[in-house]
Amino acid sequence: MPKKVISGNYAAAYAAKHARVEVVAAYPITPQTSIIEKIAEFIANGEVENLEYVPVESEHSAMAACIGASATGARTFTATSAQGLALMHEMLHWAAGARLPVVMVNVNRAMAPPWSVWDDQTDSLAQRDTGWLQFYAENNQEVYDGVLMAFKIGEHEKVNLPVMIIESAFILSHTYDVVDMLEQEEVDEFLPPRKPLYSLTDFDNPFSIGALGTPADYYEFRYKIAKAMEEAKKIIKEVGKEFGEKFGRDYSQMIELYKTDDADIVFMGMGSLMGTVKEAVEILRSEGYKVGAAKVRWFRPFPREELYELAKSVQGIAVLDRNFSFGQEGILFNEAKGVLYNTGAKPIMKNYIVGLGGRDLTVNDVRKIANNMKKIIEKGELDKEIDWYHLKR
């Protein structure tokens, strides 16, 4: 298989190419832009066929054009970041509501003001209720693999929902790393052409999509999406397993567990920061700490069952949120706590707000967090629930 040293953004672009996307409608925004630049380059060099690239005038129109294209049966891809994603918000609901499996890469970037182009998960997490599946990639390889799986999962007849593949600003988007890409034939075999649930080209059986749903019907439309999201958990596992069997990288777990079997303390988080955390786990273990890492790959649908299984066996979970919901707490922390409330599993959980706006989380930081968690577990009570860990004092 061809290995290449490429950026996360190029990994996304190659995956879109290998998935044989038919329509790309996109708008530039740092740090996403090199994804769509690369796709434009593929077209300019004649490396792709039957791909229409629509250089729209805004992200809102990007998603609207993707929706039109997807409703016409095309495999459709776009990419954005932060402000662009926020501008799309209305149409994110539309894509899910119209049951269109658009795939989008969002490069996590902090929301302004103040202006920032650096990593922060609040942009994508603020879209959690739109009906999109969300996959947080740890590294460039996962960006590539994630995009390919996203089409297969989103287009599955039991799912028919849009999928967002999320990577970190610069830490992945612009950092070059080895990506083990698949041969085109391998991708074709894994990902056959899309069989849409419906297409606007069905003139023999004309229908209207998105018509007024009165209180007598709207409710059931929502339930169907809820059900498809539940169903998506199974499909994610199936596709993740198939990917592993075929290509050697297993994604059958929605939460990747790293040395958690005998761990007392588990660091839980999403995205590229979990790379640092895993490195820290290695080092801390060599220093005698009984720690592990739980990388939440899929935030939507939320892996409730896997989290419960994990929570049963550990004493403490340190949730590292590179995001924040003002007036509440870190978003992953909030969700994880909520899942466990009605279960018997009640490890001590503490929320560390880390890395907002691209601030680095280092191995030494993780060690400090481990020490703090150790103390809390020994005492059997939290010093505080939400810790703005990096705050300058």
Binding site: E22, V23, A25, N50, L51, E52, V54, P55, V56, E57, S58, H60, S61, A62, A64, A65, C66, I67, G68, A69, S70, A71, T72, G73, A74, T76, E90, M91, W94, A98, L200, T201, D202, F203, P206, F207, S208, I209, G210, A211, L212, G213, T214, D217
Partner: protein
């Protein structure tokens, strides 16, 4: 009303219907008439995109549809972008677009969804040269939300957010000339049309299907409900709008303007009858009417000059 003899002779509407009875338009709705003509001309092999507007409702709630053609409902401001995406997908998948047997991609949006919130997406659609047709049916206000002014509302009109009253808080801005904004993009084809002149409208629809590139039609579609006018006066109002040069019919192609008959050949009629028939103009003073009349005539002169210079 007795039709003029020449109109009678020429009336040749296609018999087939693809816009069905049972739609939920108000009595006397100009937009519903317009839809009927569009579907008569283009038939079933047409993909419609309709944003939030009266036609969202007119088309029928789930699971009904008054259209014998695929219809995609979309968000208010997105018509131009969605039809661009549909056209891109058709191209990528190798479908034939336009021409005799090709697929027609039609965006059908109101004046608010076009002149205001959808203007950016419309501009993108035109500028990128998508091979489709954007129809703005112009009933001169946000009628579906209950008669609020849009930038296409004329000077002097009552709406629920320009409500007249003692202080005369009326609409005080002239109607936005969306067609001029469209023409500034130098599209393949742009035209105004009126539900009072179906043959002219249908000819323009046919033309839009033969021309490669983006087309735009601004269709004058009276709204008796919002204009506070009798429901049997829709056609008369639409006709008066043309005869007074309030809404002249013309087309733009290859940099050339052409004023279409039945726009006034001599002096346009006075606005008086057009205004009198509509309750929305009841707060206008004589001076207000004069302002509107002068605006109409000056716009008409400008259009005639354009047709003369770029004819």
């Amino acid at each position: 009303m007795e039709l003029p003899a020449d109109v009678k002779k020429r009336l040749t509407l296609p018999a087939e219907e693809h816009f069905y009875a049972g739609h939920t338009a108000c009595q006397g709705c100009g937009a519903a008439l317009g839809l009927r003509y569009v579907l008569k001309v283009y038939g079933n092999k047409t993909i419609f995109t309709i944003p939030a507007c009266c036609s969202t409702i007119i088309a029928g709630p789930w699971p009904y549809s008054a259209f014998n053609a695929p219809l995609f409902h979309t968000a208010f401001e997105t018509t131009g972008a969605v039809i661009g995406g549909i056209e891109a997908a058709l191209k990528a998948k190798g479908y034939k677009v336009k021409g005799e047997d090709g697929i027609m991609v039609v965006g059908w949006a109101g004046d608010g969804g076009t002149a205001d919130i959808g203007l950016q997406a419309l501009s993108g659609f035109l500028e990128r040269g998508h091979d489709g047709l954007y129809i703005m049916y112009d009933n001169e206000a946000y009628m579906n939300t209950g008669i609020q002014r849009s930038s296409s509302t004329p000077y002097g009109a009552w709406t629920t957010n320009t409500p007249g009253g003692k202080k005369h808080f009326l609409e005080r801005k002239p109607k936005k000339k969306v067609i001029d904004i469209v023409i500034a993009h130098k599209p393949a084809y742009a035209a105004t049309a009126s539900v009072a002149y179906p043959e002219d409208f249908m000819r323009k629809l046919k033309k839009a299907k033969t021309i490669k590139g983006p087309s735009f039609i601004q269709l004058f579609a009276p709204c008796p409900t919002g204009w506070r006018a009798p429901t049997d006066k829709t056609i008369e109002l639409a006709r008066l709008a043309v005869q007074t040069a309030y809404f002249p019919l013309f087309e733009y192609e290859n940099g050339k303007y052409k004023i279409n008959m039945p726009s006034p050949s001599k002096e346009p009629k006075s606005l008086e009858d057009f205004i009198k028939l509509q309750g929305r103009f009841k707060y206008m003073t004589k001076e207000d009417i004069q302002v509107l009349q002068e605006w109409v005539l000056s716009e008409w002169e400008e259009l005639k000059k354009k047709a003369e210079i770029f004819g």
